[in-house]
Symmetry: C2
Subunit: 289 residues, 2 copies
DNA sequence: GTCGAGCATAAGGTGAGCTTAATCTCGAAC
DNA sequence: GTTCGAGATTAAGCTCACCTTATGCTCGAC
């Protein structure tokens, strides 16, 4: 019988590309991962990996098996979720990931509702950029996460995660009437690698220019303070712009950001996940949207 | 992560009812099965079994998990079948089960076609009554089996097996124009526990009487010889009645028997299974139907 | 009451799977 | 060309999961 643990490693390899990265993700040594994948190949009776230069790549058979692995792991997730539901109401640790703005604005009221309704639940929150959420969910470091996606950024589709939409908010630009009007300005953006950074770059490119990025700042309060001090222009979402400094003028753009709850595919009926998403929804009316 | 091996044991327990029977089916000791199921309960965090008198029964949670186990094992089966397909054409050992008549009439030409088309295939045939096929498939003792079902016998539905119909044949009665006309006769039937025996009893009951069973004989040639010797009446399928003894008159009844190929759910795309079923089909025109 | 079937627990041996350490290869920097 | 580091594999050893044997317990049949 195929071993789901090995299938999990193969799936991680498909996503991460190197055995070393897989090993780090599951906190094994690369040696262990290599041995497990060799064993899987032996059982499969087909070459699944092939060395390409300094790293390994999946053969077509490997990719085929990854798809089946996904289906198997999803069913196992479903089974676990069903057991959790049978055990009773939501309880135990629940690892929640959230992008910084959500952690500041949405989570405090949501967690209050959540722990109020389910005293046995122990939510544990980590700030995390949406770009890293899929990997963290797969690795079991998170159970549910708040992520966002932008018009300009194709949603990161990962076969192993599923999402439920929560709300949509508009984007604002500081001190300029449109992105195109900020062609010559210095820009304040989030750190490279974050979804917000990618979005801002794409928005400028869509307006026909490459932005001149001067500052890399993740915290939107700081971003606005910089803008107020005349250090550049920035794109900020509604939630981050509730109390802007006096000196900053905000223009609403025809650009929106969607916030969603993400979780491992198959785990959507887990009572703790359901309770968390319900709590997120109860917190929405309290948001300054 | 839930262990499919343990889930398999739980599923077997649901079908067989006792830990001892499961142990025998998987050739473990009862102790090992007991330990594995205890471990599964611990991981599940719910009672799955409860002692009822001298044996154990599944709790509602246990039954729920069995359904999920079925889905998981099916996906694993699918993955294995996909790997077998990727490995290339059908090859290796293929365990075939067949009821006696099929083994005598259908298998010889079918196996000739099969091994002719796929020299790497090593078919291994075991005679087996259709009533025992599901268990043998689940246990991995068989990969594909020829089974039959009768009008009077509800098909044995097992969530873990799947079937494809092959052909239908009529039933014949010896020396009497109808089952009802054989009310007072001595009957020659198959051994109790076989599907044919159950069918014959039901057919008599449907005609309004309990048959007087005198002989229990599985081989239809012998059955017909007994009938020819005036030792009783019998129901025989078309395939078993191609060259009846002179002294026996056969009457075709409005009663039919369907022959099907059975295999583990999820394994239907396994190349060896597909090749076997294809070979069964090529052999059908050679049958004296 | 006695006996056997069925299950659970204790104790022990074996193998799967992890770690560490060493080796090999590739690619980039100089 | 040489060096170096990243990535992968292999060897050797250790731990733990898991199966077996042995034993005991409980229930139901006779």
């Amino acid at each position: 019988m195929l071993d789901p643990r090995k299938l999990h490693l193969l799936r991680e390899l498909a996503r991460r590309g190197t055995i070393a990265a897989v090993a780090e993700a599951v906190t094994f040594t690369p040696s262990a991962v290599s041995q497990q994948l060799s064993a899987l190949e032996r059982e499969a009776g087909v070459r699944l990996l092939e060395r390409t230069g300094r790293t390994v790549a999946l053969t077509p058979a490997g990719h085929l098996l990854v798809e089946h692995a996904q289906a198997v792991l999803e069913q196992l997730e479903r089974a676990s979720a069903a057991l959790a539901a049978v055990r009773g109401g939501p309880s135990g640790p629940l690892r929640i990931g959230a992008f910084p703005t959500a952690a500041r604005v949405l989570l405090p009221p949501a967690l209050a509702t959540l722990t109020g309704a389910h005293p046995g639940l122990e939510p544990m929150v980590s700030e995390i950029d949406p770009a890293d959420v899929s990997a963290a969910l797969r690795a079991g470091e998170l159970d549910v996460a708040l992520v966002h996606e932008y018009d300009f950024v194709p949603p990161v589709t990962d076969a192993s995660t599923e999402t439920e939409p929560l709300f949509t908010e508009p984007m604002y630009l500081t001190d300029r009437p449109s992105v195109a009007a900020a062609r010559a300005d210095a820009w304040i953006m989030n750190k490279p690698g974050t979804l917000c950074h990618t979005m801002a770059i794409r928005a400028c490119q869509a307006a026909g220019f490459e932005p001149l990025v001067r500052h890399h700042i993740d915290d939107f309060d700081t971003v606005l303070a910089f803008a107020a001090a005349g250090q550049g222009v920035a794109l900020v979402p509604r939630l981050a712009a509730v109390n802007p400094p006096r000196a900053v003028r905000l223009t609403r753009l025809p650009l929106s950001r969607r916030t969603l709850a993400a979780f491992r595919r198959g785990n959507g009926e887990h009572p703790a996940i359901r309770a968390a998403i319900a709590a997120f929804h109860t917190a929405l009316p309290h948001l300054p949207l």
